[in-house]
Structures are given as C-alpha cells and as structure tokens.
Amino acid sequence: MTRNRSMKIASVAAFLAIVFIAVPAAISLSGRIDLYYTLTSVALLSIASAGVWLTFYIGRINIGQGAYALMGGYVSAILVMNHGWSFWPTIPVAGLLCAAASVLIGLPILRLRGVYFAMVTLTLTEVARLLALALPITNGAKGIVSIPLPGALSVFGLTIIPDFATLQNSRLAFYLLAVTLMVVCFAVMYRLVQSRIGKLCQSLQQNEELASSIGVNIAYLRVIAYAVSSFFGGVAGAIFAAISQSIYPSSFTVTDSVNFMLNCFLGGLGYVFGPMLGTLVLYFGWDLLFQTGRLQLLIYSGLMIVLMLVLPNGLLSLAETTRKKA
C-alpha cells in the first residue's frame, strides 16, 4: 500500500518535472520555439477532452464540446474587448457561463441516451457556430480580432503574472499557463473519479434505473457532470482566444467536437488520463502524417480504425495488460 503510494507520488513528480522543466529546457536547447505553440494546443485541447471524458463516464457520448469551447472563447473576447476586463478573470467567468448554459441545455437533453444524445450534441456545435455568425455581439463572420495579450495579474499589489506583452517569450508564458491549467484540471478529474462521485458516475453509466432505485438523484448528477464538462470546454476556449488573439465562428467546428471525442477513445474511456495521452498522440500523429501529403487523411483514418479494433479500451489499456503479466 505505502509502496503504491510512493510510486504514485514519484510518477506525479516525474510528470511535473517533465512538463515544467524538461520540455522548456529541451525546446530552448533545440531552438524549436514553434513546439511551444503545438504543446500549448495539446494542453488546452486535452482540457476540453477531459470534459468530454467526464460525460462518457456518466454514459453519454458527447460530440458537442466545440460549442462550449467556442462560447468560452467569445465570452472572454467580448469581456476583454467590449467591457475592458483584464484577461485573467475572464477564464473562470467563461467557464462558469458555459457551465450555466450547459445546465439549461442539459436539463432537457440529458434525458436522452446513446445515439440520440450524441446526435443532439453534434448539432449543438453547429448551432453555436450559426449563433456566432448571427448575433450582433459576436461580430458575425469577421469575428473578434486584435485581442490584446493578457495583462499583468497582481494580488494586493504583488505581481503574480507579468504582462504578456512585455515578455520576450510570450509563447513560453502561454505554454506554462496552459500546462498549469491542464495539471489542475486533471488533478480535479482524478480526485472526482477516485472519490465516491466517480462511483456514482459509474453507477449512472452502468444502470440508471438501478441507480435511481437506490436513491441516486440521477437527473441532478447528470447535470452536474455535464456542467463540469462544459466548464472545462469554456476555459480551454477562453485561453485559445487569448493565444490566437482572435475568435471566429469557425474557430471550433464539428470536426473539433469529433476530435475531442476521439481523443478520449484513443486514450481510453476507462482511464482519467486517457484524454491527455489521446490528445498528445492524435495531435502529433496528424502532424507527422503531414509529410504523406494527399494520403494524410486516408492513413490517419485507417490507423484510427485499426487502433479501435486492436485496442478497444484505448492506449492506456496496454499499460494495464503488461502490469497484469508482470
């Protein structure tokens, strides 16, 4: 038991050392500054995917995370541009507004199961895109551009985060921001799943009727899980808007929603850290296949199909089987 515990602490420490020290050191040594942008994207996409994973965990196939990422991006952009807010408070506000919207949307649609829920969420992304095109506040197809870089964040006169515009390397700053949030996000997810809430979510996934017969308020729990999921989507979207300094109706599309779901499948629906690994592999896999030119999509799709056939429980199930053998 204690050995298990120290193993866990060691792997967490190793992970933190890699993302916060080893990766930046390796990048500055190799001079591949562009990798910061890629890894920042992976971190943010994995936060959104973690949300999707949580809805999988209560037994719902969620193909609508793009809608909340888009909404989060617009909320942050509008607050910064039209209302003169600093970027920092817009992160939680974007998350909370997305969570609130998902409660209103989730109350009716979470009654649906299986393919019906999946279809409705799929259209959500499209609805979000059309709304962004139509509403006056989102500035239509032109989107919102020239969003300033995040300013300084000070608490009681103490500057915690410097103004990004004054930094020599704002890419590194964004990378650290995204990775920090990713670590927090997955720590929260891990705790959720390890606590009894995780067991309750599993009970929903496995049998909602039985769950309600033992007194679980299934409607409430479903909405809570969906709200947490959408919160993560909104947070990821808000930071994306800040990095690209712009947000358009096409910033998050149905393809992104599908990718969030694929990240979860690829990493493994049974493992909290599945979406993180899935996002990393999928994002880099796609980029590596770029050299195959016209065949890129064909090879990519083929590999995905093979992976799902060979590893239906995701990449992390590989670790499990080797552990069992040992």
């Binding site: 705790r191 009894r196 809430i197 049998n207 009727e209 039985l210 017969s213 033992i214 007194g215």
Partner: protein, 259 residues
Amino acid sequence: MAEMLEVSGLSKRFGGLVAVNNVSFSVREKEILSVIGPNGAGKSTLFKLISSFLRPTSGEVRLKGERISGLAPHIAARRGVVRTFQETTIFKNMSVRDNVIIAHHLRSKANLFGFFLGTGTARADEAAFGASADEILALLGLASLANETARNLPHGHLRALGIAVGLATNPSILLLDEPFAGMNHEETMRMVALVRRLRDLGLTILLVEHDMPAVMKISDRIVVLNFGQKIAEGTPSDIQANDKVIEAYLGSEDEAIGL
C-alpha cells in the same frame, strides 16, 4: 399490527388499456405480502406504481400515512420504499462489494462536495458503508465473492446481490420483483429462507411472484390480481380455497396454486 404501506384506489391506464384498475390493499409492518395473478394481470405495473417508477392515473400509495405515489423513484427510495429488479439488474462492471457500498448512498451524511474534498464526514461515511456492506454480504452468503466483478457471478448469486443492493439502502419496505424466477427447487428454498430471515430482522416485504408453491410457503397474506383488478386477498389457505382464484387460474390451476 400497524400498517406500513397503503394502496388505495390505484389505477393505471395506458391509452385504452386499463392495466391496473382501482386496486386497494395494505401491507402491515413486518409481514410478507405477495401479489400473484396470471400473466398480464397487471402485477408488474402495480409493482412499478408502488416503487414510483410509474405515475398512477388515479389513486395513491401511502407509506406510514405519507403519500409517496407520483414522486421520483429516488425520492420514494429516500422515504423507504425500495425495489429490486426482475432480471439481473446490477452494476455489472463493479465488484460485488462496490455494488453494495454504492447502494449505501442514501445513508451518507456528506454531500457531493464533501466527497470531493474527502472531509471527515465523507471518510466516516466510507468506513461505515464498508463495514455495513461486509455485514450484508455475509448475511446473503456473498462474503467470499466480495471482490469478484459482478458480471461474473452465477445466476443465483446475482439475485442475492440484487437483494443486497436493496438492503443497503436501509428500506422500510423492500419490494421484490419475482425473486424466485428461473430458480430450481433448491435455490428457491434457500431464497425462501433468506426472505423469511429478512422479515425476522424487522423488514416489511412485498413481493410479486409466479412460483405458487414458494408463494404459498412464504406469504403471510396474498393479494390476487386478474385483468388489473383485485379478485381476492387473504392468507394462503384462504386463497387456495377461493373460487374466483381457482377460476382465474383455470386450466393448470390445481397444480399451480398447490392444491
């Protein structure tokens, strides 16, 4: 004996079909009451109405004088009316012990946020639920299977696990949906003994069942339904002598009702 559950004037209509028609009866504290009837008599519908899985068209169900019909199932469960399921409805991918632990949900004093933070209350809950789950598993003869994944259990043990899950909620009245279905003689006798033991521990039990010999053996009283209506109510010997009941079961009835 005080009345635990009262069913009064209960009806359920599905379009033009009246599945349950103006049924009234009551279950006394610490008794075993069985509801029987030929196929399609409305037993299952009645069962779902009492456990609040269906809303009645008219009439009501009261638990210790408090109306429970028309509430959501989880609220009925909170009030103390808990059902088991006919088929092997369990949390298949959890261990046997986890199935029973999660069913303690209603007894928890901590809220969701407390679970997340792992507060003292939440940890006290966990410890208490674990201990209680072990007790229940021992009572139902499942202790040796506690760490087995539920989906791997044989049929008879699954049924016992279903009852264990129901017991974990600490119900006032436990509703058993065909507890003897698909069991051989020996398994049935074991289940009869188990249900009696639960009653002796202070539980009130209402069961819906096909297996006549088992029902005659186990029940304090029996309610007979036919075409959605109550046609008889009484002790097993009353029911065996009742003309209407014999008529309802005409064909294979003599053997079926144990004459």
